[in-house]
């Protein structure tokens, strides 16, 4: 299984894909809706629930509108990639599998200081929590490792183990690069020409930063949020072959969540309103989660 160490951002992703594929995961593609974190992909939030086994890995772009820095901050992006692994039930050797993936991408575990530091993960927007760790490599958090205990307010049983790798940060560390935009995106020796992360994403960061902070029309965002909010119960009330439309409903929740993040970045949400918006999204998410579990258990 020994492969050459990755030398580019895309090779890092391919290495992880290969690694988790060889360990039995389904390699999925990103969900085609903007999300704030890879966890929100239905392949994690929904599949973590219910009795059926589920093992998957995928890359998911994460959108954090408020983190945009117009391409001027070497570490912060409003659009970045997370590598997400979900193993349900978590295998007993999950920690070893995880450490194996670090070795696969070229970290010598006898030279670096790897630590599992307590971190109780929770995501109030989807009513989820779990216990686990931040994994540190030489003092830097390279992954989040969580045993899901609840999602959408429901107990996760069997327990799903979740791994989240912050890909850009990990790549910067592995390749010794200080500025994300300098990361080699493809093979640095490509006969067709080397490309950096900046070549691919710098302009994207600039334009989206401006849109996030100043571009979007708040009234439009607000209207869209409320539209999505209305769609969820409609989807859940609709009967199709004896089931409600929980998957489309969940997509509407994701859209609402992203619209909230955009409004937040625009500064359109008073501090006092924040909690209530999050509560509204959580309630919608809980509705989807319990409906999903009902369908899974019936199947």
């Amino acid at each position: 299984m020994s492969r050459p160490k990755p030398t580019s951002f895309q090779a890092l992703i391919l290495t992880l894909h290969n690694y988790w594929s060889e360990h039995g995961c389904a390699i999925l593609q990103p969900h085609d809706i903007e999300v704030g974190a890879g966890t929100l992909h239905p392949a994690t939030v929904l599949r973590a629930l219910g009795p059926k086994p589920w093992n998957a890995a995928y890359v998911q772009p994460s959108r954090r509108p408020g983190d945009g820095r117009y391409g001027e901050n070497p570490n912060r992006l409003q659009h970045y990639y997370q590598y997400q692994v979900i193993l349900k039930p978590n295998p007993p050797n999950m920690q070893d599998l995880y450490l194996g993936s670090l070795e696969a991408i070229g970290l010598d575990l006898r030279l670096h200081d790897i630590r599992f530091v307590e971190d109780d993960w929770e995501n109030p927007t989807v009513g989820a929590w779990g216990l686990g760790w931040e994994v540190w490599c030489d003092g830097m958090e390279v992954s989040q490792y969580t045993y899901f205990q609840q999602v959408g307010g429901l107990d996760v049983s069997p327990v799903a183990g979740e791994l989240t790798y912050g890909l850009e940060r990990l790549a910067m560390y592995v390749f010794g690069v200080d500025n994300v935009y300098d990361l080699p995106f493809n093979d640095p020796d490509s006969p067709l020409g080397a490309m950096t992360y900046g070549d691919v994403f710098l302009e994207n960061e600039r334009q989206h930063s401006e849109a996030n902070f100043h571009g979007y029309d708040v009234a439009v965002l607000k209207g869209q949020f409320e539209d999505m909010e209305r769609q969820v119960p409609l989807m859940l009330a609709r009967d199709y072959q004896g089931k409600s439309l929980v998957l489309p409903a969940y997509d509407m929740v994701l859209k609402a969540s992203h619209l909230f993040n955009l409004m937040n970045a625009r500064g359109a949400i008073a501090v006092a309103e924040r909690a209530s918006y999050i509560g509204r999204i959580r309630d919608l998410c809980k509705m989807c989660a319990s409906e999903w579990v009902k369908q899974q258990e019936a199947a």
Binding site: N75, D120, D138, Y147, A272
Partner: protein
Amino acid sequence: MPQLLLELFSEEIPARMQANAARDLERMAREHLAAAGFLPEALKTFAGPRRLTLVVEGLPIAQADRKEELKGPRVGAPPQAMEGFLRKAGLTQDQLVERDGVYMAFIEKTGRPTPEIIAEMVEAIVRGFAWPKSMTWGTCKLRWVRPLKRILCVFDREIVPFSIEGIESSDISEGHRFMGDAQPFRVRDFDEYAKGLNDHFVVLDVEERKARILEGCKTLCFARNLELVEDLGLLEEVAGLAEWPTPVLGDMDPSFLDLPPEVIRTSMRTHQKYFAVKKQGEAGLAAHFITVANIQAADGGKVIAEGNAKVLSARLSDARFFWDEDCKPGAFEGWLDKLSGVTFHAKLGTMAQRVERIVALAGEIAPRVGADVGMAKEATRLAKADLASGMVSEFPELQGLMGRYYYRAQNGLAVVSPQGVSNEPKLGQGNAAEQAIIVADAIGHHYRPQGPSDAVPTAPLSVAVALADKLDTLVGFFAIDEKPTGSKDPYALRRSSLGVIRTILENGVRLPLRSAISAAVDAGMAAEQPVIAKLASLDDSQQSEARELLEHHGLDYMRALSRETGITSGINLHPSVFIYSSFSPGAFAKAFSDHRIFAKSYNLPDKQAELLAFFADRLKVLLKDQGKRHDLVDAVFALGDDDLVRIVARVEALDAFLKTDDGKNLLAGYKRASNILKAEEKKGWKAEGERGLLDDASAPEAALYDALRMVEPALAAALAKEDFTGAMQELAGLRGPVDAFLDGVFVNSEVAAERDNRLKTLAAVRDAMGQVADFSLVAG
């Protein structure tokens, strides 16, 4: 005698839970073994990042056989009683022995083999362990802090066989994840276990891990002429994060040294768990750090040091960003705006409202502690602003401290002087710079004292702000009935009240508690008033003004009030949403007016008394901690005084007085006199009319009469001067005459006028003494 070794091997246990886990394991094992009748020679537990270990020395291989005597029914008891007894004893009637008319059963209990008992014990411990947070994993039904992987359990060199939810006991342990051969190994006793761990790069004992870390740090420092900034809390934590702790020294970009040292240290400690270092003999920090790795790397830690240095740079860049943003002109006003979005407590409104209250209160307190009213209001207005700053949002423990730095920065004062050179303007010139220093200190010190070992603020302005801050907290939480109960004190009200008491006492501030409390209540009520007035002045078309006004209180406050008032019309209350449609500001003004937290609560007659009693309890605890006699404190308290400085002066004078002969004897005289009076008062006697010296008065009567005539005005004069030692000396003058009176005069004379006058004389003694303390509460 045989030994038991148990290891519960799991994935990484949070560092903060390890010490308690070791204690709990020890307690549970002791209880179980004792219940089985074992008294082990020694029992010890260990906790580390991946294991809890128990070793018990000197257990027998089996329980001793036991003979039990059971008393059964009387001879001739109903048959049902006999049947029940036989069932319980597991015997037949012919096995019973009759003794003194009662059936007795003699049962021989064979002791069970120790391994059986151990297996039960381990199962009970594993299933009943009280982790602060536990979890399940995979399909296992067990709960543990993180997945439990193995249970090593050997007794007398043999595996104790059992299985808990699919985890089989074994004689296998594991060492370090990465160092050595990283292979599991077998052990049959503690010596083999300790050696195995050592060979596999695990330090079992947390104390050894700590010693190793300190030793390593000191070696690194020594070589570079540095000095470790010791941090016991951090040491404890990092000792729980590494099985083979190995300190590594890294370099920090020296350009960060212009940040306040607290910021650098907090960033290092909170985010990265690094130790800070100083140059030998210097005050400021050095441009290095020490991280404690879990591995002795082949390259001597070079890669680790470089990696960590990079992370620290990123962290400090964030801190620098916050610092630069926070130091921009106008920052304070921006933060003050934000405070209206920060809920202090649902029922007590936002932080902005709280600031309004403390500003008013500090204005009241300032003149009484010798501070300038204007400066006190200004310092208080700004005291909480830093809560909204970037730095304090990131590091809440830097509250106050950052406010002080920022205020100094805004006023052109030196912020950080790494060389320790002070270029403070000279004090005492009353200039603007001097005022700014005083205000900055008041902002920075108003949270003091933060614990029993923390100093109280001493500058008058800081005292005013600190007292206002704490009094508002106390009055507010008492208003909403959030008093501490038992061990629960979620808002640290005991600490706040002790802070008030210590600040008053240690500065000799004359601020009677009743007036302090009522000033705080007034400030609270005053802050409620304008909102109501403003709401009432709006008409139903002015929706957005009304809404803005209400939101100033915070949504939580509105929700709480709406629940209490029942006014929900026009407002859509959803558990997580607060949506307005049109509503009537006037109706709200009325409802709010009826339910004002401060006004409503403190209109109750005993509310202030309740808070006063709470203060009294804290003061008693404080005085007792200082070695003052409990009964003397009570005796002084009974006078109802609420001036803390005076109370303590009285207690001290009384204590000294009662150590003298005069004091002891006078106390005895007091007790005799008051017993006589009590008995007579019970029968209905009351002191009425003038006390005089009857014509045929005996010598002792005349002497006491004269003594009282001398002592009474002198006592009053001493008390007026608060000269309690002097007052006690005056009382000492009564000792002789009182003794002579009690010994030589028959109080209950048959002549009514004599009896009445003698009782009045005693009552006068009691009253005189009662002005100093309630001597009836003094023991002895």
